[in-house]
């Protein structure tokens, strides 16, 4: 067991190093110079002032040091939780910006992922091998998974927001409120959260339902299901057992899907101007703010890594087969 975790940690550690390096490398080898963009923004024309500013910002961002030193500095800063200073929200530290956005993103992602996972799997398991449901409701599931996030999101925003007027279409909470620990504020948060959540939820829901349906069909045909049936066990029990086994691959599926879900959240946030990481990233891209981009990306990588790690561990804990595998019963 210890070795297993050691191994996993090693892999994840390596992944992390790779991600950080990629993240550090890409902007540095792409066209466009952040200092130049800062200068262009400032609309300064006097050559002396331009030069002075250039020196100043180059120094501020640490671009005057040798490249390897920059790399090491990056790591050092990373461990201090310092992702540098944003260019377009100058001079706010990137960490502050991200911390401001993270609660929104997590508040959107975690319920969307967990609820869609739970509901979708239940639903898929319920519909499988029931002719009527299988042929009517599951196609809806296919359509949902195949829907581009933004398309659904825009339709929802327009339909429920603009036309029906039931939901706001932008922001994390009303522009008339200041955050406080009150019901009013909480309900308002919820009100703004509903549509983005729904669009994420629906698309993911379809995917899980289908995954589960395809998975559980195999389980329902499996030997242990047949055995139970031969002993006259009711369909409910058989389905319950099949579900338990079918959910296991779905857990790995969750790990595989996480990246996609993050992408979905990103696009959804953009559509709803939801003040999470996604909106931040978009702005960072539009404004060539590569420190912010790096920071947000690092945050996502760390998030996905941690989530994957948790999933890996959970999987080992709930599947007895992997556990005995560790003890050597499997080849």
């Amino acid at each position: 067991m210890r070795q297993y975790f050691g191994r996993k940690l090693f892999i994840y550690g390596l992944t992390f190093v790779a991600a950080v390096t990629v993240n550090w490398v890409i902007p540095r080898f792409m066209p466009g110079d952040p200092v130049a963009s800062m200068l262009a923004r400032a609309r300064v024309s006097q050559p002396e002032a331009v030069e002075a500013m250039r020196v100043y910002y180059t120094n501020l961002f640490g671009f005057d040091e040798p490249i390897w030193q920059q790399y090491l500095n990056f790591w050092g800063a990373l461990f201090r939780g310092d992702f540098g200073i944003s260019i377009y929200v100058f001079p706010v530290p990137v960490t502050d910006l991200i911390m401001g956005a993270v609660p929104y993103t997590l508040g959107l992602m975690i319920p969307a992922v967990l609820l869609s996972y739970w509901v979708g799997n239940r639903f898929g398991a319920f519909a499988a091998r029931r002719k009527l449901l299988d042929n009517t409701v599951l196609p809806v599931g296919y359509v949902l998974t195949a829907t581009p996030y933004m398309w659904l999101a825009v339709l929802l925003a327009w339909g429920f927001g603009v036309v029906a007027g039931w939901f706001p279409i932008a922001g994390g909470y009303s522009f008339s409120l200041t955050p406080s620990w009150s019901w009013t504020f909480f309900l308002d948060l919820l009100h703004h959260w509903a549509l983005p959540f729904l669009s994420l939820f629906l698309v993911a829901l379809g995917g899980w339902a289908i995954g589960m349906r395809n998975m559980i069909i195999y389980e329902l045909e499996s030997d242990y299901s047949n055995y139970l049936a031969a002993l006259g066990a009711p369909a409910k029990l058989i389905r319950r057992y099949a579900y338990r086994n079918a959910i296991l691959p779905q857990i790995t599926g969750l790990a595989l899907q996480l990246g996609v879900l993050v992408a979905g959240a990103l696009v959804t946030e953009i559509v709803f101007s939801y003040p999470g990481i996604g909106s931040l990233i978009l702005k960072a891209i539009q404004n060539q703010d590569f420190f912010l981009l790096q920071g947000s990306f690092m945050f996502i990588v760390i998030g996905v890594l941690v989530a994957n790690f948790i999933i890996d561990i959970v999987y080992v804990l709930i599947d007895p087969r992997t556990r005995t595998g560790m003890a050597g019963a499997q080849a």
């Binding site: 070795q3 297993y4 191994r7 992997t322 595998g325 560790m326 003890a327 050597g328």
Partner: protein, 291 residues
């Protein structure tokens, strides 16, 4: 001919290879030209592992295997004279191709220059050698042929080469009683032509039917070996006795042998190497009298 000396195989097992499993433990035996040696033991005792090591399909952890004094060197030249036929004929054929592809592979590797016509003739004669009708079996998919036919085609395939040694790994376990006997008879005939055969099985009666000499394995180690009739008629090792007593016989009731577990010295086969109880009859325990 074939010499297996102190061969050991250790597998890494567990999700990330956390533990080791000694599948074959310092096994030594010999197969002489024109001889059938049967390798007997329960499931998981390491029989197939030994076979595959001889064929060079899996690397050894320790020991040496030589064929005619030359160490195993997996590759085209080695397989020209050493071949194997496996346990499960159905999995030996690629299900998406026709069964006679196995012959084509041989031709591509070993006889690329033989003209097609001559090759066909050779294949036909090999198939006839295993007593099949070429017209019935060629050009068909594996699932359209019976296990016995597939098994015999595999033997025919081996016969196309200048074979010296054949590893026959449980080649009859999947077959019907009646087909099984046909295949065994075929092996016996091959032996008559001077071929050495290592016959791997867990069915004692089959081993007895065919082999000159028998090696009994348990948990990867040799517990008893010697001339077949000696081992079967006068089993020395309690494990061999237990095995023999468990075989259901048509005309005799099950006899009871004391379970091996009662023996103080045989927790896990032999440790002190083999002991020659009588000429040509080895056993893995020097303290048999105490049992």
């Amino acid at each position: 001919m074939l010499k297996v000396e102190n061969v050991t195989k250790v597998y890494k097992v567990g999700t990330f290879g956390g533990r080791t499993l000694t599948a074959v433990d310092a096994v030594s035996f010999e197969v002489r030209p024109g001889e059938v040696v049967s390798l007997i033991g329960e499931s998981g005792s390491g029989k197939s592992t030994i076979g595959k090591m001889i064929l060079g399909l899996i690397p050894m952890t320790g020991g040496t295997i030589t064929v005619d004094g030359v160490p195993v060197k997996p590759g085209r030249d080695y397989y020209r004279s050493v071949q194997g036929v496996f346990q499960d004929p159905f999995s030996c054929y690629n299900p998406v191709f026709k069964a006679d592809r196995v012959f084509q592979l041989i031709k591509d590797s070993y006889y690329p220059s033989v003209p097609g016509k001559e090759w066909t003739e050779r294949v036909h004669s090999a198939i006839e050698d295993v007593r099949l009708n070429p017209r019935e079996v060629l050009g068909k998919f594996p699932h359209q042929l019976s296990g016995g036919q597939l098994q015999r085609l595999l033997i025919a395939r081996a016969l196309l080469l200048d074979l010296k040694l054949l590893i026959a790994d449980e080649i009859t376990s999947m077959l019907d009683a009646s087909t099984r006997i046909d295949v065994l008879n075929l092996l016996a005939e091959l032996k008559g032509r001077g071929l050495s055969v290592l016959y791997v099985t867990h069915d004692l009666s089959l081993g007895h039917y065919l082999a000159e000499r028998t090696v009994v394995l348990r948990s990867g180690a040799v517990v008893e070996m010697g001339l077949t009739h000696k081992v079967f008629d006068d089993p020395l090792h309690p494990y061999t006795r237990q095995l023999l007593s468990s075989v259901p016989r048509l005309h005799a009731p099950w006899e009871d042998a004391p379970p091996v577990e009662t023996c103080l010295y045989h927790e896990r086969g032999a440790t002190g190497g083999l002991y020659e109880a009588e000429p040509g009859h080895f056993v893995a325990c020097a303290k048999l009298d105490d049992c």
